[in-house]
């Protein structure tokens, strides 16, 4: 709210970065102090989905679109039961929203959920700072307004990779979500039985659970440290590894379970899940300078050569060339790894590597902005994963077909010849077919 409108009713607040940069502003959520890693998200809408996304645990999120809160808060937009992020930075927060779905104003929501938030910040300047200096430690305070002091405390605060944030946001207990009845009817008509998926909930977004339910899966969400044996005892058709916060290398239990489960039944992973599956296959993990957080990242599916516009939220990613040497006979004779994976886009090849533990893995999706890997498919076992968010929430629905791909994989696995394998073409779905149709929406 503008100062001339608020008449000074909002207390002052300070945002301090590790590199010494400070921004003054006004408190617009809960009062207090928040320390975390500052990142920026370039989605123009979807602020409520963002603040309720558990993957932001440990982070202070800057929204690049300057006016936030315009359409208020709705129950439908919740991605978890609350908020997990450390703090929120915006340019201008709306106290008088308007939308038929809105039940309250966003600043009230932030305050009720204890989210420390600051407005009046030149978020573009902050974004450019993060772009050049990388994601870094930061703090928002409504108490300590002395820049020097707050910066000093930021530099003394722990780094994001020092803590297992997944343990904070993963549920303690299992829970079951039923499949969508519409999807079950559709499956029934085509002679396919209901599916059951066990989801490792490392901070799973509701949108994903809805995505799985929408393809006819009953979802049993389990804590991140559930042993593989327990999962197998639930007799699922497939296992899903969810998104989640922080450094995947902190989440060793889940990676171990992934190692045990891969090859025994169909597996699908999103975001952190993708990293965990890659770790299981022996890949290196790298931290991107400032990550991908937004709803406009172009990704090419190398199998269909179609581009999908994707929602993304990650700071860590797998290193494709660390997974193993190229398999020339499946990579059209190519033997040399290139770091910028757009190389493969230009060549029109979906390259395959041989991993030490889990057989051959194909690169299926590449980010066209920076050439980072966005999706992989295991060729010798029924599994695939993507770094981005097919459930969107917020963001474009282009990648929804990946849920269908998972269903196709599970169906094919069920019907496979004894001991036979599954044809890898389950991932070759045209993005246009995957977009939701009016009737479903």
């Amino acid at each position: 709210m503008n100062l001339l409108v608020s008449e000074g009713s909002q207390p002052l607040a300070l945002l301090a970065l590790e590199d010494g940069t400070c921004f003054c502003g006004r408190a617009c959520g809960a009062s207090g102090e928040a320390f975390g890693e500052v990142v920026f998200n370039t989605s123009m809408v979807g602020y409520q989905e963002i603040v309720t996304d558990p993957s932001y645990a440990g982070q202070i999120v800057t929204l690049t679109y300057p006016q936030v809160g315009n359409y208020g808060v709705s129950e439908a937009a919740m991605q978890s039961s609350g908020t997990a992020l450390r703090g929120l930075v915006v340019r201008d927060l709306c106290h008088t929203p308007s939308n038929w779905q809105s039940v309250c104003a966003f600043p009230d929501f932030l305050r009720d959920h204890g989210v420390i938030a600051i407005e009046g910040v030149d978020t573009r300047a902050l974004t450019l700072r993060i772009r050049s200096a990388g994601a870094m430690r930061a703090a928002i305070s409504t108490i300590d307004l002395d820049p020097e002091s707050l910066v000093a405390r930021v530099t003394a605060s722990p780094a994001i990779n020092a803590h297992n944030f997944v343990a904070d946001v993963s549920p303690r207990q299992e829970r079951v979500t039923p499949a969508s009845s519409y999807a079950l009817r559709v499956r029934e008509k085509t002679g396919r039985a209901a599916l059951r998926v066990v989801a490792y909930d490392c901070g799973e977004k509701r949108g994903i659970e809805e995505g799985l339910a929408a393809i006819g899966c009953e979802v049993v969400a389990v804590p991140f440290d559930t042993p593989a044996a327990r999962v197998l005892s639930l007799k699922p058709d497939g296992v899903f590894f969810s998104n989640g916060p922080g450094d995947p290398r902190q989440v060793t239990q889940t990676a171990r379970a992934a190692e045990d489960l891969l090859g025994r039944l169909p597996v699908f992973g999103i975001c952190l899940g993708n990293q965990i599956m890659a770790l299981a296959a022996g890949a290196d993990i790298e931290k991107l300078p400032f990550g991908h957080h937004g709803g406009n990242e172009p990704v090419m599916n190398l199998l269909t050569r179609r581009v999908e516009i994707t929602a993304q939220n990650h700071n860590y990613g797998l290193v494709f060339d660390s997974m193993g040497p190229l398999e020339p006979e499946l990579s059209e004779g190519e033997t040399t790894h290139v770091r910028d994976l757009r190389h493969w886009v230009e060549l029109g090849i979906a390259p395959v590597v041989r991993t030490p533990r889990l057989g051959r893995v194909r690169l299926t999706h590449v980010n066209l902005n920076d050439g980072t890997p966005e999706g992989i498919q295991f060729l010798d076992l029924p599994a695939f994963s993507v770094q981005y968010h097919p459930e969107a929430c917020p963001g474009p629905h282009d990648a929804r077909y990946l849920f269908d791909a998972f269903a196709r994989l599970m169906d094919a696995w069920r019907e496979r010849d004894n001991g036979g394998s599954v044809s890898p073409d389950y991932l070759s779905i045209d993005v246009r077919e995957g977009r939701p149709h009016h009737a479903e929406a």
């Binding site: 690049t64 030149d122 246009r432």
Partner: protein
């Protein structure tokens, strides 16, 4: 997929003249397309009849045909050039319609021309509402319940079924022409009747009204591989019911949640697939019910559009350029994002700012027409601005309009119509936004205003915030505001003028205080990606942020700032933008770093690669000074952007800004009537007797000494705004009553009106020591018709060489005497071989683009070079008095059909929106081409109705005689018939409107008239003639209101009867001249 190598030569169709609903956004898109395809190695052939465009510069395409966009002319071009492909989706509906016609007549097949970028079927589905509705139902999208009517009775039946109100939309008309909302049977009869008449297929859609729903547009692109992206969402502040071209629009959409927006994205992309858009950009419009989010598809345009130009400027994504490349085989992922240069064009722009567009209207020029906005577009231009918040962008955009507002209210003359106040809050008119703000200022609740207007409460809350801040500023006063307060005021978009008015001080004081407190604007960049990647281009806007972070970079080369022309309006259109673009090109070639300031999203000047740096900012003193202080230019050019920058010249010079070219004193000398008359006296040059008056009494006295009839006009105006010819004291009194409201600070000028004189327009260059006359243009219509509305010819077709030389000599002397450095334009009247000076404009004129194309001398570019100090002697100039071997004619395009109720006649006040050019071996051939370019088809047979005033009776005889010889039937009113019969011309007599039935009105209504020659009787605008002319307009019948125009038309008709006219490329004219 890489570029197609099987294509070599591509034909692009432009959109023809600027008309309401199809303006210079198509110059922007067409220019981008030409440049992109040439860079990709194709040979480009262009057809466009509009000379004021950058697109029709001989340098833009390889072969440029300034010819009518008709099947005949384009067929001739195809025969001559043998192109491999036709790209029709850059030139608006005109180009699409022409492409469809070329397909239907078999021309494309005969010459083996492939249509690229869209296919003809998709054009049909996009435009034919019945097919479109079926297609949308196919993919599960809801369309408004509706039915098609081909007769009035059918329309009535459908409306009865749907219930009133209903929306009427004619098929295949431009900008929704002929459409509207009917609330009852009477209104339906009127609107549907007109719509049926205007629709080429005599078809209207009668549709359930969804007035009050949110209107959202999605700008979408698709490539040949099937990749689809949304470039931008645009939300209309005005709800459904107002044409999007007449609405205040906001990008990105502000009041939709992610869920709602992504659904619209899914629908848009599905719509493109279903309609079958092969490649390129499209625009899909939706209505969203604010109560429950229900979505209805309104329409889609399978081509670049006004909205796509806006989306390009709003996001930095060059839609037209990308569309052109997609048409020749590239895919979106193969095209590089121009701005980041490291990421592909296959992504969706993210904005970290808010963009607001406001239309500019011209109702003051069309008295008698209703100002209520409907589904039929009436605006003549638009402005766009960028802010970090909606509030900031809204206030900036309202002060960009140049119609007396300094922002959202708090204007000098804040006059509200108290009697109709509530009505004017509720009704959509150009002024509604100010009434809405005033209502909130008066304490009306947001709920109440939302209920009355249908405007989403979110926008009203923001406006209420601005109003609250006004109170705070007024209470605090300038002294009571600290740095934070002043920053907060600037962040809400308050101009210094507004703050000064609230605090009771002057703009200069506010500016000084701001600077002391360190409240100065920062440079931000439009980068398509909200800061995620570094921008390689300098596309900027200014805003106020705490912290002082700026994205301004120092330049190695000296900088020159060019001030462009702001919103298109009648009298100041694309021609001035053209001059500014040329200056940018010329100065860049000379090693300058060029900086453009403008706020018109339709133009080439606001393309981020036209100049080295672009500031998308209002052209007010405050905003311009902000850029100047940041850029520290070597000079600022104020003489190419029309009256907009000229008005700032003195203030800028006083602030110590170096002007390039003609200085403010020279400008003042030419524009100050007294000083200029004194100069003419001193030089011994004739000019019509004139006088100045500030009051009615003074005016009456002055008029007596000058003698009636007189031309009266306010000082410092463009396009003859507020100008009139008055014939007696009563008329003068009523004029003075109104005129003083136009510009209270400036007096009124009274000039003797030279009846039946020939008017000349001269465009010339001057370097301070010598002068070069580029063109002498002879007007077709006589003195008294505004030069902008008159047709003109280069070279003069009826003047002696001696007289033309005399005019050149006078121009040389005047230019030097005034101290012009750059372009000037002089208007002369020639009567009885005597030359009178009417006025001198110390700046680029409206005719510069036409003059440049007609003469082959790029006047604006040369002017920019002169402004940098080059001398004419060193410039490549052909001799002034050379034989051309051809004639070039410019004709004005009038928007009568958009303004029912206003009098249809040419006069001293300019009303045309655009112009066309024709080139031919003779004057009649060139003029005939302009008629074809405007009307697309000339009536070659049938009945001509003639009714002329007494003064013209003698001269009409030869015209009528020729018409009769050509086989036209002649119908006349009694008086005219008497004259005609007396000289032996057979004609029929019809009754006047007041004389009972059947009268001339009935004949027109019966469709029995091909065209009309009707010269108005004196000053009467309410008589028989007015009814007649208005009827002609609503039926699309050509109507000539001057005798000189009739003579020219007659010659053109004669030429057209001899068969298809030959076409000629501009590039060949240059050769012919040498």
């Amino acid at each position: 997929m890489p570029r197609r190598d099987d294509l070599h030569k591509i034909l692009i169709l432009g959109s023809g003249p600027i008309v309401i609903g199809q303006a210079c956004e198509f110059d922007y898109s067409g220019t981008q397309a030409c440049q992109a395809l040439r860079r990709a190695g194709y040979e480009v052939v262009l057809v466009n009849s509009n000379p004021a465009t950058i697109m029709t510069d001989p340098e833009t395409a390889d072969r440029t045909y300034v010819e009518p966009i008709t099947v005949d002319a384009v067929t001739s071009v195809i025969e001559r050039e043998q192109p491999d492909a036709l790209l029709p989706n850059m030139g608006g509906q005109t180009a699409l319609n022409c492409a469809v016609a070329l397909g239907e007549t078999g021309v494309l097949e005969r010459y083996d021309v492939e249509v690229i970028g869209c296919d003809l079927d998709s054009i049909r589905i996009g435009e034919d509402r019945e097919l479109f509705a079926a297609a949308m139902r196919d993919i599960g999208l809801e369309v408004a319940a509706s039915g098609f009517a081909h007769t009035l009775d059918e329309a009535m039946d459908i409306a009865d079924g749907l219930g009133y109100p209903v929306v009427v939309r004619p098929s295949f008309t431009l900008g929704g022409a002929g459409g509207g909302i009917a609330r009852n049977e009477q209104e339906l009869e009127q609107i549907a009747g007109q719509g049926l008449a205007l629709s080429p297929s005599t078809e209207v859609l009668v549709e359930q009204s969804i007035e009050g729903w949110k209107e959202i547009e999605m700008e979408v692109m698709r490539d040949g591989a099937g990749n689809g992206i949304v470039i931008c969402s645009i939300e209309n502040l005005d709800p459904m019911g107002v044409h999007t071209g007449d609405s205040i629009t906001v990008a990105p959409a502000q009041t939709l949640s992610d869920d709602e927006l992504q659904r619209l994205r899914d629908y848009s992309l599905a719509c493109l697939e279903r309609v079958g858009v092969a490649t390129g950009g499209s625009n899909v419009q939706f209505a969203v019910n604010p109560e429950d989010g229900r979505v209805i598809v309104i329409e889609m345009n399978p081509r670049v559009s006004r909205s796509s130009a806006l989306a390009s400027k709003a996001t930095g994504f060059p839609i037209a350029k990308a569309a052109a490349l997609l048409a020749v085989g590239y895919t979106l992922d193969e095209i590089v994002n121009d701005i980041t240069r490291v990421t592909p064009a296959c992504y969706e722009p993210s904005l970290d700012y808010c963009v607001v567009k406001v239309p500019r209207f011209a109702f003051e020029k069309f008295k008698g027409t209703s100002e209520v906005l409907t589904t039929r577009m009436k605006s003549v231009g638009e402005v766009m601005t960028i802010g970090r918040t909606f509030e900031e962008a809204l206030q900036k955009v309202l002060r960009s309009l140049e119609d007396g507002h300094d922002g959202l209210g708090l204007d000098e003359a804040a006059l509200f119509d108290e009697k109709h106040f509530a009505e004017l809050v509720a009704l959509p008119t150009p002024e509604r936004i100010f009434y809405v703000a005033e209502a909130l200022r008066r304490g009306w609740s947001v709920g109440r205003v939302a209920g009355m207007t249908g405007i989403d409460p979110w926008y009203l809350y923001r406006i209420a915030d601005i109003v609250t801040a006004e109170t705070a500023i007024r209470r605090l006063g300038l002294g009571g505001m600290d740095r934070e307060h002043l920053l907060a005021a600037k962040q809400l978009g308050f101009s210094d003028v507004q703050i000064a008015r609230l605090c009771g001080c002057t703009e200069e004081v506010v500016r000084a205080v701001r600077k002391v407190l360190g409240v100065t604007p920062q440079v931000k960049t439009i980068d398509t990606c909200a800061g995620e990647f570094a921008a390689q281009t300098n596309y900027h806007y200014l805003t106020y942020e705490d912290g002082g972070a700026t994205e301004h970079t120092e330049a190695a080369r000296p900088r020159a700032i060019i001030l462009s022309a702001g919103p298109n309006r009648i009298g100041q259109g694309i021609e001035f933008d053209y001059c500014c673009v040329h200056a940018a090109y010329a100065l860049r070639d000379k090693g300058y770093e060029t900086v453009m300031i403008n706020c018109n999203p339709e133009t080439v000047s606001t393309d981020y690669d036209t100049s080295d740096r672009l500031y998308f900012e209002p052209l007010t003193f405050e905003d311009v000074m902000n850029v100047i202080e940041i850029e520290q230019p070597e000079g600022v050019i104020v003489t190419l952007g029309g009256q907009t920058p000229i008005k700032l010249a003195r203030q800028l010079e006083e602030a110590g800004v170096p002007l390039m070219g003609t200085g403010s004193d020279a400008i003042d000398l030419a524009e100050d009537r007294d000083r200029f008359s004194a100069l003419l006296d001193q030089m011994g040059l004739a000019y019509p007797p004139s006088s100045v008056a500030a009051t009615i009494e003074e005016a009456q006295q002055a008029a007596r000494s000058v003698g009636y009839p007189i031309i009266v006009r306010p000082s410092y105006v463009l396009g003859g705004r507020g100008m009139a010819i008055v014939y007696g004291p009563e008329e003068l009194a009523s004029y003075m009553g109104e005129a003083t409201r136009v510009t209270p600070d400036h007096p009124v000028y009274l000039d003797a009106f030279l009846e039946e004189a020939i008017e000349l327009d001269v465009d010339a260059l001057c370097d301070g020591t010598s002068c070069y006359v580029g063109t002498v243009l002879e007007h077709i219509e006589e003195c008294g018709i505004h030069s902008g509305d008159s047709a003109c010819c280069y070279p003069p077709f009826s003047l002696s060489d001696t007289l033309v030389q005399n005019v050149r000599d006078i121009t040389h002397r005047l230019a030097l005497a005034c101290g012009i450095r750059g372009l000037l334009n002089v208007q002369y009247a020639v009567k009885d071989e005597q030359v009178f000076v009417i006025e001198l404009n110390p700046r680029a004129s409206r005719t510069v683009p036409f003059s440049s194309k007609a003469s082959g001398v790029p006047l604006a570019k040369l002017a920019a070079r002169v402004m940098t100090g080059e001398v004419l002697a060193d410039l490549p100039l052909p001799p002034e008095e050379r034989e051309t071997g051809y004639f070039a004619v410019k004709e004005a395009v009038m928007p009568w059909a958009r303004f029912p109720g206003s009098d249809v006649r040419l006069g001293p006040e300019m009303r045309s929106t655009g112009e066309v050019m024709g080139v031919g071996a003779t004057f009649p051939v060139a003029y005939a081409k302009t008629r074809e370019a405007i009307d697309y088809e000339m009536p070659s047979e049938g009945t001509v109705f003639i009714s002329v005033r007494d003064a013209d009776k003698r001269a009409i005889a030869p015209v009528a005689f020729s018409l009769a010889q050509m086989g036209y039937r002649i119908l006349a009113t009694r008086g005219t018939a008497k004259t005609l019969r007396a000289v032996g011309i057979a004609c029929e007599v019809t009754k006047r409107v007041g004389e009972g039935h059947p009268n001339v009105h009935d004949v027109l209504a019966g469709g029995g008239v091909s065209f009309i020659i009707n010269t108005p009787h004196g000053h009467d605008s309410r008589g028989d003639g007015a009814v007649l002319r208005s009827e002609a307009v609503s039926r699309g019948i050509t109507n000539v209101t001057t005798l000189s125009g009739a003579t020219a038309l007659l010659q053109a008709l004669a030429v057209l009867r001899n068969g298809r006219l030959s076409v000629c490329a501009l590039q060949d004219l240059a050769v012919r001249q040498q």
